[in-house]
Structures are given as structure tokens and as C-alpha cells.
């Protein structure tokens, strides 16, 4: 299935996230990822919503009806810079320690905390890269994992 990424500029008002998620669940849209954060403009936040191609038109139109939604841009799939952050706690022991950390670092992950029997890694990348890293670490035992939600920006090219 083909994905589409929407970059949604909203007024930073109480309840705006609730309005957006309520609209999405009320209409039964499939959403693969949603993230929200402040922008460089005062009083404006940006949401990145990843949805499926089939629902993208309706998602855009229904969200546009919300008074607090200012602008929705559908990013050009071939011209998008995408990123997501991941934090992962992996179990280690004396035998595995070196190999785990080495593998992680080779994948571009940073070890941010290493204890007796665990290591915490941070990795930034596309969702594909994060998935690959997860698969790589699985055999060692993932204790906990969090992903920050995908964000994306259009390139000027």
C-alpha cells in the first residue's frame, strides 16, 4: 500500500489535537503515524500525518473543515525529507555487550546510557531504517522501545 504524508499547520489552541484525532477516528481513517510540535511561528503548531493513498483526499478535506486547521500540504513522495527518532533499551551481558554496542554504532545509533545488563540507544532515521535496527536488535532482547512519530519536510528541489 502506498503512503502519503500530510503536513498540517494548525492554530496552537487547547483541544486542537483532540479535534484532529477525533475527526480521524470518527471517520474511520487509517493513520500510520501522527506527530505534533511547535513551529518557528508563534501560535502555530505543525502535525505530520502519515496515511494511506486511498484515504488521503478525504482526510485532507475533513481536517480542512476544522476551524483551527490553517493549511494542509500533501508532500511530494519523491521529494520529501523524512525523519523519526527512536529510543531503545536492549539487554546485554558480558558475552554480548561488545557485539551489541558495535552493531548498534555501525547502524548509526548512539549509545546514550550503558548499564550492567542493559544499553540505551538513540537512532534517528527513516521509518525503514528504524525498523531495520529493531530487527537487528531483536535477537539480543529488546526491553523497551519508543518511536517519536514521523516528521517530514518538503525539499526545495
Amino acid at each position: 500500500m502506498s503512503e502519503r504524508i500530510l503536513s498540517v499547520l494548525v492554530e496552537d489552541k487547547p483541544g486542537v489535537l483532540a479535534r484532529i484525532s477525533s475527526t480521524i477516528s470518527r471517520r474511520g481513517f487509517n493513520i500510520n503515524s501522527l506527530s505534533v510540535g511547535p513551529t518557528n511561528i508563534d501560535g502555530r503548531s505543525k502535525m505530520t500525518i502519515v496515511t494511506e493513498l486511498e484515504s488521503v483526499e478525504q482526510v485532507k478535506k475533513q481536517l480542512n473543515k476544522l476551524i483551527n486547521v490553517i493549511k494542509i500540504v500533501e508532500l511530494d513522495p519523491d521529494n520529501t525529507i523524512e525523519s523519526e527518532v527512536l529510543l531503545m533499551k536492549v539487554s546485554i551481558n558480558k558475552d554480548s555487550q561488545t557485539s551489541v554496542i558495535e552493531k548498534a554504532n555501525l547502524s548509526g545509533a548512539k549509545s546514550v546510557d550503558v548499564g550492567q545488563d542493559y544499553a540505551v540507544f538513540e537512532l534517528t532515521g527513516t521509518s525503514k531504517e528504524l525498523k531495520k535496527f529493531e530487527n537487528l536488535m531483536k535477537p539480543f532482547g529488546i526491553i523497551e522501545m519508543i518511536r517519536g512519530g514521523r516528521i517530514a519536510i518538503q525539499s526545495n528541489l
Partner: protein, 570 residues
């Protein structure tokens, strides 16, 4: 001169006066009580409903009859939750409504305080937009914005929730000004390129059909629609929400299509090669199974709400814009074009002759709703406002009543809310005290909000009510006959309890009753003569009558059941 500080409550009332609101509907209570105090001195008329659902429907009826904003006011907690049905109803039927609710004090919010409900959260999906006020000085501006949002674009309900401490907080009156809302810019003017594309399709079409609905009425575009249809000879179907947008009785008017639409309207859509859909949303009650809907037709779909276009059916030509601007654009661009539609109209007229809407009223048999309706229409005024409940009687009214003007047919189309009729009729009569307002209701519906008859009596709102008393949730009974082998589970109400005549009298109205054909004229004469009190007619009708035509839910509009015999088809 230093301007005097006003309380939040005074700002609410002054704000409403500033918006030229003349009538509001409501029920008081703790959290909203501060606002009722300045209301006491205001020229605004407050109509005290007996239930908040009723007050909401009254405001809807007022708005639907006038085409202007309806205003309702309620207290926190149960007051607000009781309003929700009417808010959702207004959302579905695009009725401009402003609801003001009291809320517990700012400090108490979130603590499960007495009569606290999360009103903004509960009504998020039942309103076009809502607000929680955090400072009294915002009140005039928010009220103006709320009215703007409620009445422009695709109209709808807007709720403003005001905590009690804010109602008591002092602030300056700052003259509200309509500022740009960055996220709200409805497109009104149709794109000329799209109009041109539409015109190209129309010129190529042999069987064009105007499929129009509530959008025409909201846009006050009935005159333009009339010109378009008349000048280019295009037949028109009017949906349940669009009845009255084009005059019944006109040769080009085919009436209501759909689940209980008349044969010709429904079949003309199926046979058309071009649907010119304006202010409609391809509702499932019109399309049945969309796969089989108008399979041979191209679609021009014009709506002020872009989200409606392509939601159910893809359009060859999508046009975002206000119905009036769209129609004017079409008329302009069509210019002197002559459309050759006479064969098409002949095909339609033959259908009309072969499949007329019929009913039989036996001389001594039980009364049939269509017969009663025909008699009543003969005796009632041309511009009377008809307000229906939901069920069989609603479909019969829409099928058999001749609507010739917009805003004279009020009903709950999208949500199908039983209990809507009486309070909505009260709202309409409050707006037009000199016009005839007829609440034509089912017995089941009437029982849902009948306490509002007390409101009508005590507030001196002398409307007419006809309760079609078939002793049943007739529409439910009809489905049980067709789909559940006559197993009438929980659909019987009984004809005799309550005694509607006594009930009417107890509530300060006049009660009359008719049971036979011979009584119909006399009783309606009496009803129409009484103008100083509400009058209720208990109209005892056949419990076994069924509404036809019918297309079962999810079926194809090519298979129309015309009578009981036809039921074997399914």
C-alpha cells in the same frame, strides 16, 4: 469617559443584542444563572422550554424557518448533555445554531464538580466548532465569531461554553470586529473553469437531471434554480431536505427520490445521463447501494463543502461554491443554448402516468395518512410551515404534500430525530407568529417531547398539531412486517394511552379527535379556527398501512417496491 465594566453575563446578553438576536430558547440552572439575570432586563424574548432537547429543536425550527441563526442557552452538566441531540441534528442538517452553555467555575473544571460535564469534549463531534471561554473580555468577540462560523459556508451549530466565574468576572465591552479566521475561508464563488466544464457536459447531455437538496435552501437559491430549470428545460428532483426548493406541481418537478421516493424521481435518476447535483450529499437514503446508483450518468457535483464532493460518488466535474453562485454561473455560461430535452421529458411524463402516487381511502375504513394530508392541505394556507417527526408519517408528508416555497418544510433528515417536530414547530411559530405552523407528528415521536406543548400554551404560541395516531412505531412495524416475519417486537404504543385530547387539555391546549373520513373536514375546520391557543388533533389512523414506494436499505434503485404485492420481489 471611562467605560463601565460589565460582568461576563452582561457581556453575553449585550453580545447577543449586538448580533441582533431577538428570540432565544432555553432552560436555566446553576452555572448559567448569572446570564439569566441581565436577560431579565433585555428586549430579547426568552422562551422557556421544558427540556433542553426541546429548546435545541426550537432554536433549529426558528433557524430553519427563517434561514437565520437560532440561539439556545442551557446550564452545565445535564443541561448541556440534554442539548447534544439537537446539536448533532443541526450538524447533520446544516442548521445555523448558537448554543451557549454554563460551565462549572474555571477552578473546578476537571474535578468532577457538581453538574460538571466535559461539554467541549462531548460536543466536539456534534458541532461545527466550539469554544471554552477563559476570560470575560473574549465574550463579545467569540459570540461574533461563533455566529459567523454558524451562518456562513456550510451552516452548522457552534457551542460556546462559559464557566460560571467568567460570567461573574468584570470586563470592558470591546466592540467585536470580524477578523480573519486563518483556518476558515469558505469558498463561495465557483471557479469559472469548472462552470465551463459543467456547461460542456450539459450541452452534450440528452437526459440531464437536476438533483438538488438543502443547499439550495441554505443558499436562498430557489429563484435561480427555477430559472435554470425553466429556461433550459431540465427536470428536477428534490431530496428530503430540498423539498420546497423547486415548486411541486411544476411540470419539471419530480419530487423526492430514494428509499421512499416516488417512482418517477428515483427512476429518472437511474435513467439520466447527467446528474447536476447541487447542495446534496448523495445520502444513502437517496442512493441506496451507491454501486447501482445512476450507473449511466456523469456527475456534476456542486457543494459549498468540498468534503462532500467525491465522498460517496466521484464527480466528473467537481464544483466548490455556494449554490446561488454556481447556478448563476451555469445560467450565464449556458447563455442562449437550447437543450433538446423534450424526448427525455416525455419519457419522464410517461413514467409519471404509468406509476402515479396512489392511495385508497375507504368510505368507512380506517383513516389513511395520505388522505388526511390531502384534505388538510386543501384547507390550510399557502405559506403554512409544515414540521414533521420521523417515521412513516414523515415519508407520507414528503411524498404527498405539495411544497411550493423554501423554508416551509422542516424535518429531521440527516439524524432522523424522533421528538423534533413539536419543539421545532414552536420555534418556527415563535419566528412567524402570523403564519400557520403545522406540527404533523407521529404518536411515537410526539411522546418523546410532548411536554413542550406546555411551552406552547404558556408562551402563547398557538400552533396546530396533528398526531397521526396509528398506535405504533409505524415505521418500525413496517420493517418488522417486511424483514422480521411480522414479529412485532416492542413497536406497539396503543391507540388509547395517552388520551391525546385530555393530554392536550391538561397542557393548556385544545384537544380534538378524528377517526373517520366523515369527521376530517369538520375537525380541521375547528382546528384552523382556533388561533388563541395551541390545538392538537388526535388523528386515529390505520396501524397497518405501509409507505410505498420503497427500496430496501442497501438495495438497488432499479428495484422499487410499489405495493405489498411487490414485496415478493425481495
Amino acid at each position: 469617559m471611562e467605560e463601565k465594566l460589565l460582568s461576563g453575563a452582561e457581556l453575553v446578553i449585550r453580545g447577543l443584542e449586538h448580533l441582533k438576536v431577538s428570540t432565544i430558547f432555553g432552560v436555566p440552572g446553576g452555572a448559567i444563572l448569572p446570564a439569566y439575570d441581565p436577560l431579565y432586563d433585555s428586549p430579547i424574548r426568552h422562551i422557556l422550554a421544558r427540556h433542553e432537547q426541546g429548546s435545541g429543536h426550537m432554536a433549529e425550527g426558528y433557524a430553519q424557518a427563517t434561514g437565520e441563526l437560532g440561539v439556545v442557552i442551557a446550564t452545565s452538566g445535564p443541561g448541556a448533555t440534554n442539548l447534544i441531540t439537537s446539536l448533532n441534528n443541526a450538524l447533520m442538517d446544516s442548521t445555523p445554531l448558537l448554543a451557549i452553555t454554563g460551565q462549572v467555575a474555571t477552578e473546578a473544571i476537571g474535578n468532577d464538580a457538581f453538574q460538571e460535564a466535559y461539554t467541549v469534549g462531548l460536543t466536539m463531534a456534534a458541532t461545527k466548532h466550539n469554544y471554552l471561554i477563559t476570560d470575560a473580555s473574549e465574550i463579545p468577540q467569540v459570540l461574533l465569531e461563533a455566529k459567523h462560523i454558524a451562518t456562513t459556508g456550510r451552516p452548522g451549530p457552534v457551542l460556546v461554553d462559559i464557566p460560571k466565574d467568567i460570567l461573574n468576572q468584570k470586563a470592558k465591552w470591546i466592540e467585536p470586529k470580524l477578523v480573519d479566521l486563518p483556518g476558515y475561508k469558505p469558498t463561495l464563488d465557483a471557479n469559472p473553469k469548472m462552470i465551463q466544464q459543467a456547461v460542456n457536459l450539459i450541452k452534450d447531455s440528452k437526459k440531464p437531471l437536476l438533483y438538488v437538496g438543502g443547499g439550495i435552501i441554505h443558499s436562498k437559491a430557489n429563484i435561480e434554480l427555477f430559472d435554470l430549470a425553466q429556461k433550459f428545460n431540465i427536470p428536477v428532483v428534490t431530496t428530503l431536505m430540498g423539498r420546497g426548493a423547486f415548486p411541486d406541481g411544476h411540470e419539471l418537478c419530480l419530487g423526492m427520490p430514494g428509499m421512499h421516493g416516488n417512482y418517477t424521481a428515483t427512476t429518472s435518476i437511474q435513467n439520466s445521463d447527467l446528474l447536476i447535483a447541487i447542495g446534496v450529499r448523495f445520502d444513502d437514503r437517496v442512493t441506496a447501494n451507491p454501486k447501482f446508483f445512476a450507473q449511466n450518468a456523469k456527475v456534476i457535483h456542486a457543494d459549498i463543502d468540498p468534503a462532500e464532493i467525491g465522498k460517496v460518488r466521484d464527480a466528473e466535474v467537481p464544483i466548490v461554491g455556494d449554490a446561488k453562485s454556481v447556478i448563476k454561473g451555469l445560467i450565464d455560461k449556458l447563455g442562449d443554448t437550447k437543450l433538446e430535452t423534450s424526448n427525455w421529458i416525455q419519457e419522464i411524463n410517461e413514467m409519471r402516468e404509468s406509476y402515479p402516487l396512489t392511495f385508497t381511502q375507504d368510505e368507512d375504513g380506517p383513516l389513511k395518512v395520505p388522505y388526511v394530508l390531502e384534505e388538510l392541505q386543501k384547507m390550510s394556507e399557502d405559506d403554512s410551515i409544515v414540521v414533521s417527526g420521523v417515521g412513516q408519517h414523515q415519508m407520507w408528508i414528503s411524498l404527498h404534500w405539495k411544497f411550493t416555497k423554501p423554508n416551509t418544510w422542516l424535518n429531521s433528515g440527516g439524524l432522523g430525530t424522533m421528538g423534533y417536530s413539536l419543539p421545532a414547530a414552536i420555534g418556527a411559530k415563535a419566528a412567524y407568529p402570523d403564519r400557520q405552523v403545522l406540527s404533523l407528528d407521529g404518536d411515537g415521536c410526539f411522546q418523546m417531547t410532548c411536554q413542550e406543548l406546555i411551552t406552547a400554551s404558556t408562551e402563547n404560541i398557538p400552533l396546530k398539531i396533528v398526531v397521526f395516531n396509528n398506535g405504533n412505531h409505524g415505521m418500525v412495524r413496517q420493517w418488522q412486517k417486511i424483514f422480521y416475519k411480522n414479529r412485532f417486537s416492542a413497536s406497539e404504543l396503543t391507540h388509547h394511552t395517552p388520551d391525546y385530547v385530555k393530554l392536550a387539555e391538561a397542557m393548556g391546549a385544545v384537544g380534538l379527535r378524528m377517526e373517520q373520513k366523515s369527521e376530517v373536514k369538520d375537525v380541521f375546520e375547528k382546528m384552523l379556527e382556533i388561533n388563541d391557543k395551541p390545538v392538537l388533533v388526535d388523528c386515529v389512523v390505520d396501524p397497518d398501512d405501509m409507505v410505498f414506494p420503497m427500496v430496501p436499505a442497501g438495495g438497488s434503485n432499479d428495484v422499487i417496491i410499489l405495493n405489498e404485492e411487490d414485496l415478493k420481489k425481495i
